[in-house]
Symmetry: C2
């Protein structure tokens, strides 16, 4: 439940398209935005969602951009098996601990009629060794890399995979936490620890760049505390964003795996010196969770708001008419307007325009596009045609819209999209900054995160360890990260009173 | 085993990069090309392959092109669950018959330590209803469509999914038949039978266009006989190609499902008349099998040959030098050559150039690119730099290559790629046509498909039914299709002597 009274950073319209509003019930508002914007829906399979075309188109745009960034940093795509032999998981002790408790296990390879009716797994088709549907692919990819790597000349190996993975989560929420999700997982092998650490850091920078400059979502780059590390990693870096309800969202992770997986999977190579040595590996990933991050960063009480760089359509042209004569005239105008807009360039490609000529009520049509979060809506009726204009609304600022000369609209669409992209980032950064503070005592900390307080991101001195973890757990809080760009600063841990060299970030989290 | 003596259509070089050659052992040659060209390898999971970067890059190019064609015909991408509840399969009788015998069954959702050592599926985590890893998604997508369709206004629904699927094949071969494979599956719902049949036909045309104009692989469009139909379909259309060993490959299928799945999944809508009626559905798909088709259509005894439109790189520039001075001079020349080539346009995009500056032996470098099938290799040594030239080889025709002035090379690369694309198609079409004939008696048919005969595609009169199926099965032959563009022609079925109205195509097949 969202804290009451309504915090000042959440506009509270008299009427809104989404029920409930953010202030009334934030978690339910989130589900309703997904429904109203046609992004996804629950499926007939527990914990799995159906990603609908509008939601999938956003994911495709995320993929396209990230894929280009991965390739520009020297990575190649490949594809590895969906299944992992159970024995592979056992090889890395922390890894199995982390994933064995929630995974889909394949035990048979045939169905047969059940004497009691229906079907059953055929007892005669039981697998000698069960297979796990990959929850992440370090083990199976590592086993492959062990064959690829012989000599230092084979390194580095820089691979990315776009794939589906399954983690049997008990409490799921669309996009944020689903049993099956789509993601990319980078996996690399290097000759030295330094190179692998540099790769880990480089990919975190790629994620941060993408989050801020493409998703318009400000993030903090940091290092995870021991309790929050990826199972089997030496070091986990992450980008952390803050949502509108002031809870943190881990939006991407990059792991330095040291030689842990190389040893478990026998990734060995002959160094230039002739010595046989283990490789140093990394892995890094982002997932469809990013779509959840987009929603909770930008959407409002009228529905979705999509940053222009990721919008499947930048402009929706909405023709309005009362009869066939008007229809012909208006559509002709809209067709040529569409062509003119598509001749404009935004973000290195033509402006994307959707002309919605469905024969439905103008008001319904308008609200569908509001809820779907298209950056600009251009309504065109017979009067606009006469005046050589459109009735233009920018999704994040103009609730009502305004008459705009056609030439002005076409001539400024590219810069208007840039402005909106920047505007969304600025708005999110302002909210995040307003909800961030330094806290130096436990009393203050408890007050800041009290149930009826808005909360936010608290920068506190800390000593990593079980005592801190226990206190955080009791308060339903988590250590988000130790900021990479934080200054060293001496202080006292608010949890234990111990000596601290740097502040960490603490928050409620998704 | 390939028929001996070596048939005339297979060039038999004195020395070749691939052992064995096609003539010596075609199936083994196929595996060795995949290995030599770095396309894929077997994995640690039975029947699943690892698609390596060069092979995956070809698949990405296939995806990109097909995806644009699907969108141009009005389809949108979406994503549906990996898992299908067992009871969903049961709803369509033929469908379950077709897929229940070879599927991966998930029965548990947790592992726990086995008292006897290692791990085991936790008995307490047994699922109430087993889940099937999708072998195809008609049933789970149909259940979703049932929610999306209420009224005729919601139709047509035109959806495509890019996904992995699993069929527990007992005899696998890389790309052609693997337990897990990558594919796209289109699924559509229409208000009338005619519309659905038109969609089925339209997507077959898209596949044929893609196969011929992008893959340079000639295909025959046809209708499957009853025994070869997709389980649950009313009608299955396919494109059939012929490989270099004269065996047929089904390269894509498009199914008219009638109301079978709509009835099983309750896809109902209110027609304009007010009546409640079942929808008409289609599904259509192509898979990573296409990469196998590319190999067996174009590769030769030196390795892979990739049609330019699908090649991850069009030109490999191979600098050759003996010392650091030469290296600097040659690399400078190569860098500017690369930039000039990349300024050229082929197939609507910049020419793709790979400059291979690895410090390895020139001969090894050259042979790697030959085996990988890059369309053009440009070797550049100090002498070429002085002469402002390159030593140029086109993969499918010039074994040895020839000195070519740089200006000529750059100025003609686009047309040379076009020529190669067309040349590969023409060569394949010629082989196919030479290996095609009309056969009117069983005696001739048996002779044509005798073990020591080359075989090919036989156009024969037939009467579809169990008698024909039994005779074909005994001869290890299959009915490939009834060509859509065949002329009606009266004749006698060579299997049964019955009256026939049209010839069908018969062949050995993958």
């Amino acid at each position: 439940m969202f804290p009451n009274p309504v915090p000042p950073w959440i506009p509270h319209p008299a009427m809104s398209a989404i029920t409930p509003t953010r202030a009334e019930d934030y978690p339910e508002w989130y589900q309703q935005v997904i429904k109203a914007a046609d992004l996804a829906e629950t499926s007939d399979v527990r914990g799995c969602m159906v990603i609908k075309p509008w939601g999938y188109a956003i994911w495709e745009n995320i993929q396209r951009r990230l894929d280009a960034m991965f390739k520009a940093t020297g990575h190649e795509n490949a594809y590895f098996p969906l299944f992992i032999p159970m024995s592979f998981l056992e090889k890395e002790a922390e890894h199995v601990e982390g994933f064995a408790k929630e995974c889909a296990v394949v035990t048979h390879h045939r169905l047969e009629p059940d004497p009691e009716g229906g079907l059953r797994p055929a007892p005669g088709s039981k697998l000698e060794e069960p297979l796990i549907v990959r929850p992440t692919s370090e083990t199976i990819i590592g086993a492959t890399f062990a064959r690829w790597v012989q000599s230092y000349r084979d390194l580095p190996i820089l691979i990315n995979q776009w794939a589906n993975v399954v983690r049997w989560e008990m409490r799921t929420r669309m996009f944020l936490r689903t049993a099956e999700f789509l993601w990319q997982e980078g996996h690399t092998v290097h000759a030295t620890s330094e190179e692998a650490q540099e790769e880990t850091r480089q990919m975190l920078e790629v994620y941060a760049d993408f989050a801020e400059n493409t998703m318009a979502m400000p993030v903090i780059k940091g290092r995870k505390t021991a309790g929050e590390r990826f199972p089997g990693a030496v070091d986990t870096l992450s980008i952390e964003a803050m949502m509108q309800d002031r809870k943190a969202l881990q939006a991407g992770t990059s792991h330095f795996l040291g030689q842990n997986f190389a040893k478990a999977q026998e990734i060995k190579f002959q160094a230039e010196s002739g010595e046989l040595t283990y490789g140093w590996t990394t892995s890094w990933g982002v997932s469809t969770r990013l779509v959840g991050g987009l929603i909770m960063t930008h959407a409002d009480d009228d529905g979705m708001v999509i940053p222009p760089k990721l919008a499947p359509a930048h402009v929706a042209i909405l023709p309005i008419y009362r009869n066939d004569d008007e229809r012909a005239e208006v559509l002709k105008y809209c067709d040529s307007l569409k062509a003119e807009l598509e001749a404009q360039t935004f973000d290195g490609a033509p402006v994307r325009v959707k002309l919605d000529d469905r024969d439905i009520r103008g008001g319904d049509k308008k609200w569908q596009w509001v809820k779907r979060g298209v950056p600009f809506r251009a309504e065109v009726g017979p009067r606009d045609v006469k005046g050589d204009a459109v009735f233009l609304s920018r999704r994040d600022v103009d609730g009502k819209g305004k008459g705009t000369p056609r030439g002005e609209f076409v001539g400024t669409i590219a810069s208007a999209l840039e402005e909106m992209q920047q505007g969304l980032f600025d708005r999110a950064a302002k909210l995040r900054d307003e909800a961030t503070c330094e806290i130096d005592t436990m009393e203050e900390f408890e007050k800041y995160f009290a149930e009826d307080a808005p909360g936010g991101l608290a920068y506190c001195h800390f000593v990593d360890g079980p005592e801190m973890e226990a206190k955080l757990k009791a308060m339903k809080l988590t250590a988000r990260c130790i900021p990479l760009e934080g200054k060293p600063e001496k202080g006292k841990c608010i949890f234990t009173g111990g000596e601290s060299q740097q502040r960490g970030i603490f928050a409620r989290a998704y």
